[in-house]
């Protein structure tokens, strides 16, 4: 017969049902759309007919995923993985929808799923083929990865020759071979500087990594030792989970497994809606957050002149909780993406919010794609959270993501508060920075890069019944840990001269935000060493709640030509401990008077040189506060004073505390005098205030006259250009004349990219996967 076989046609029949993966996936999407239930599953047959068997299967798989993570991470040498737990393993069904995930950086519930879907939509089954024993590697941010340092290994799972699912493992590597060292480096302004980029590449066959891949990848990064062991970690975990699935199928049958792999997603969808109804309140919530992008400063050195401007990320969120328990998250009005590394793909956004939600709304072990199906996302195309240009850089997408999600926290916390679940209220999160990064020749004489993950332990937001936790967590990793000093000193040529709670870093309030901490590092035994700063400085991303203040912003301290080598040799005093009160700096009294010190709010810098005995302050931020500070219990203020969490000046000015200090330095707050002082403060507040509508008249004049810093105007101009609705609402609120407008072109700043853009979908033979309303 002169008929072409499936082989010639390039049809792999991986599912053994005559359908391509794309056809199969299209069917699921259609059934979900038509019925409202994932894959049309109005009834959950397996769960309802055999609930104990269903739960047993859940426990085996979930336990196995967590076990694989805990075991595999011991292979890694990178402290980011081994100490901080920056890894995650996720099980997918055949179409790349997440079934279950491990603990860890569970933002990757959806990112590896997006990679699988990209392979499905772009016919990977025909070329390069999908076979048992294959491995695929992905870190491409333009198809859904968060940032390039999250490297994913994806392994298909077959049963009796049929594709039944996938397992993915991701680790946050210490260096990606970007323009500058560190996993989330600054300085590059486009994807092309973000480092080694791998798009769902087949990197292994027969369970063995391909030699060309090993050779190429290891020399593409600065830290091959860590890179190799990170990959072994991912492969080991994926293979453990693949074996687990085989074991489960042998014990429970393929039919039960496959039913579970689809029913649990519908169960996750219903689970989120039930949680929304059980904990929140229907209505509209509007919140907004911002991030400073101070690129005009001389310490931000970039290759492209068009990136040299100060700008602001704008993330307005309208969260609508519907009476049926569904919710819609609409980011209409968001500002445009930019020439920096903080842009985020839509999947980083839609997948990422579950790392946050599992810490508040859905604190369950059943985190999967079901929650995505219960959520309507609207991320307008062209914004920072859904770029429409294939050149965008993403190395530190978290900078905007974490801040963008702040609006959701505050909206949810409003609903918890109004409903009486005060124990769930969380005023917000820390801006999880600073990121101490850099590289050069380390103490072992090797080319090296560092990214201190001390940011895993920032202060948490205040609750409505208690203070936030000090130096405890980061929103992007529920398993975060600051790491041991001894381990960091082995990984980095930087000695610790201090590690202290950062006074006044938690936002004030009836309940204060958790304080962050600060570590003073001295460069030691390095050669040609560089470092840079990355964090917020000019602005706060999270606000306080219901009368509480935002946390303190960041600042930087670095010192060169310190003379410390000599001071150590002669036993002179040294800068030790915390930078207790930056209004009255003390470090400078313990280094040479001729030292070169940078002490300012420029918390975003690029790679700069550090000699041995130079200093770097790594200040990790605090969380926001809740409630009016003059409602704070005097005893709590006393405790903060005695533990140096709060400077005395601000106990007086912000909290109205009246106190004494005894000969031993112990503070005691006088309750009666404090109450009297607070009564005066109420009067002082009203004496300095204006009726809001009166103040609005003054502010309107400033808008009419375009009186605001360029970065503020730039933010509004990019939002106006993308959103007619936001523009109309803005003009209506301020009663602006019909012809009032604000264009980027009138700001005398670079406008490169403001008009001419090209999306990835316009490349030949590329089908992108769109999972949000744009």
């Amino acid at each position: 017969m002169n008929m072409m076989t499936n082989k010639e046609l390039g049809f792999a029949d991986l599912l053994k049902n005559g359908q391509t993966l794309k056809q199969f996936r299209d069917g699921i999407i259609e059934r979900t759309k038509a019925t409202g239930y994932y894959n049309g599953q109005e009834k959950l047959e397996f769960r309802d007919s055999d609930p104990i068997g269903y739960e047993k299967l859940f426990s085996k798989l979930r336990g196995g995923l967590v076990h694989a993570r805990e075991t595999a991470k011991k292979i890694a040498a990178s402290p980011i993985v081994e100490q901080e737990g920056e890894l995650c393993f996720t099980l997918y069904n055949a179409v790349g929808d997440c079934v279950l995930t491990s603990t860890g950086i569970i933002i990757h519930v959806g990112t590896m799923g997006a990679a699988i879907k990209y392979m499905i939509e772009n016919n990977w089954e025909a070329n390069p083929g999908i076979n048992p024993g294959d491995m695929f590697t992905n870190n491409d941010c333009s198809i859904g990865n968060v940032h390039p340092c999250d490297i994913a290994t994806i392994v298909p799972i077959f049963w009796e020759g049929r594709l039944i699912g996938w397992v993915g493992g991701v680790t946050h590597v210490i260096d990606t071979g970007a323009v500058t060292p560190g996993s989330m480096s600054t300085g590059q302004v486009q994807r092309f500087g973000d480092g080694y980029m791998i798009t769902c590449r087949k990197t292994g066959v027969n369970d063995t990594p391909l030699r060309d891949w090993l050779h190429e990848s290891q020399r593409s990064v600065r830290t091959p030792k860590y890179w190799i062991l990170d990959e072994k970690t991912r492969i080991a975990g994926c293979h453990m989970i693949r074996e687990l699935v085989e074991e489960v199928i042998r014990a429970d049958g393929i039919e039960a497994y496959e039913k579970f792999a689809y029913e649990v997603i519908e169960e996750g969808r219903r689970g989120l809606m039930n949680r929304i109804k059980a904990m929140t309140l229907p209505g509209k919530y509007r919140k907004v957050s911002f991030v400073d992008v101070p690129y005009k400063h001389e310490d931000v050195q970039v290759s492209s002149a068009f990136a040299k401007l100060d700008s602001i990320m704008h993330s307005p969120c309208e969260m609508t909780i519907k009476p049926d328990g569904k919710w819609r998250l609409d980011f209409e009005g968001a500002s445009r993406w930019g020439w920096h590394t903080f842009n985020a793909h839509q999947v980083a956004f839609t997948s990422g919010i579950w790392v946050m939600m599992c810490q508040t709304l859905v604190p369950t072990q059943r985190i999967n794609d079901g929650a995505y199906y219960a959520t309507e996302f609207r991320l307008p195309k062209g914004t920072w959270c859904n770029p429409d240009d294939r050149r965008t850089g993403h190395a530190y997408a978290w900078h905007f993501l974490v801040s963008g999600w702040a609006a959701l926290w505050r909206g949810l916390s409003q609903s918890y508060f109004s409903r009486g679940y005060l124990e769930e209220v969380n005023a917000g999160n820390a801006n999880t920075s600073n990121w101490l990064q850099g590289g050069g020749i380390n103490q072992d004489g090797e080319i090296h890069a560092v990214n201190s993950f001390e940011a895993s332990s920032c202060g948490t937001g205040a609750c409505a019944v208690k203070d936030g936790l000090n130096h405890a967590a980061a929103i992007w990793n529920p398993e975060g840990d600051m790491g041991d000093i001894e381990i960091w000193e082995m990984a980095e040529p930087l000695l610790y001269l201090g590690r202290n709670v950062k006074a006044n870093s938690g936002g004030y309030g009836k309940y204060r935000g958790g304080c962050g901490f600060e570590t003073l590092r001295m460069v030691w035994n390095a050669q040609d060493w560089t470092m840079f700063f990355m964090g917020n400085g000019f602005m706060n991303s999270d606000w306080g709640m219901m009368g509480g203040y935002p946390s303190a912003t960041g600042y930087r301290f670095e010192a060169h030509k310190t003379g410390l080598e000599q001071r150590i040799a002669i036993g002179d005093s040294l800068p030790l401990g915390g930078d207790l009160d930056p209004t009255r700096p003390d470090y400078e009294r313990h280094i040479d008077a001729t030292a070169v010190v940078k002490r300012d709010k420029q918390c975003m810098t690029t790679e700069d040189c550090y000699d041995n005995h130079d200093l770097y302050l790594n200040y990790l931020r605090g969380g926001p506060g809740f409630g009016d500070p003059i409602d704070r219990e005097p005893k709590a203020i006393e405790n903060d004073l005695n533990q140096k969490f709060l400077l005395p000046e601000y106990a007086q000015k912000v909290y109205g505390a009246v106190f004494t200090q005894d000969a031993k330095g112990v503070f005691a707050v006088d309750v009666a005098k404090t109450a009297a002082r607070r009564a005066e403060m109420r009067k002082e507040r009203l004496a300095r205030a204006l009726p809001t509508r009166e103040w609005m008249k003054e502010e309107r004049e400033r808008i009419i006259n375009k009186h605001a810093a360029v970065q503020v105007q730039h933010m509004f101009a990019t939002s106006f250009a993308l959103s007619e609705k936001f523009t109309k609402e803005f003009k209506a609120f301020w009663s602006l004349p019909a012809d009032w407008q604000l264009l980027e072109t009138e700001l005398n700043v670079p406008t490169y990219g403001s008009k001419h853009r090209m999306d990835l979908s316009l490349l030949p033979d590329v089908t992108t996967v769109v999972q949000v309303e744009e």
Partner: protein, 168 residues
């Protein structure tokens, strides 16, 4: 499902609930009766006679006016900010920290935002001076109407309570 006594919920509101019970509240499925108990605890605390319909903040409520049955936003000192559908902040007293001097009143040097980028807007009750909210936007940002609850759906469909009478 856990249940809690009115006394326990009152302690939660006061911030004086023991940690063991607070932890149980956090870790166990939510108690459906909480909202009713919460309203009861709050109503016992406030000095006004108006019925609390929905708490908005530690000192701010949507209440049903005892006299007119209208729903209004009200401070616990009794100050009325206007119809519950309006943005109460537009009827508040505002103080904007938009200079370095004003910012360093509340934060050490370098630890507050640069007011060329971000300002703090403090919203006070015009009668008692309670600070109900601190906004932290850029200059020019509209006053945010941050919460429009669907109270009827909540009462009727979610917690199964009769919707308080409302005169418009």
């Amino acid at each position: 499902m856990s249940t809690y006594t009115n006394e326990q919920v009152a302690h939660l509101v006061e911030g004086s609930l023991d940690w063991e019970t607070t932890f149980r509240m956090l870790s166990m499925p939510k108690d459906n009766s909480r909202f009713e108990q919460y309203l009861k605890a709050l109503q016992a605390k406030v000095s006004f006679k108006d019925k609390i319909v929905l708490p908005l903040g530690p000192h701010l409520y949507i209440v049903q006016s005892a006299k007119t049955k209208q729903w209004v936003t009200q401070c616990d000192c009794g100050h009325v900010f206007g119809d519950y559908r309006e943005n109460w902040k537009l009827h508040a007293a505002i103080y904007v920290r938009d200079t370095e001097e004003a910012m360093t009143e509340v934060y050490p040097k370098l630890m507050a935002p640069d007011t060329q980028w971000q300002v703090y807007r403090e919203y006070y009750c015009p009668s008692c001076g309670t600070m109900h909210d601190v906004e932290a936007p850029t200059p020019w940002y509209p006053v945010i109407h941050d919460f429009e609850p669907d109270i009827e759906a909540f009462y009727k469909d979610w917690v199964g309570l009769p919707v308080p009478e409302r005169a418009d």
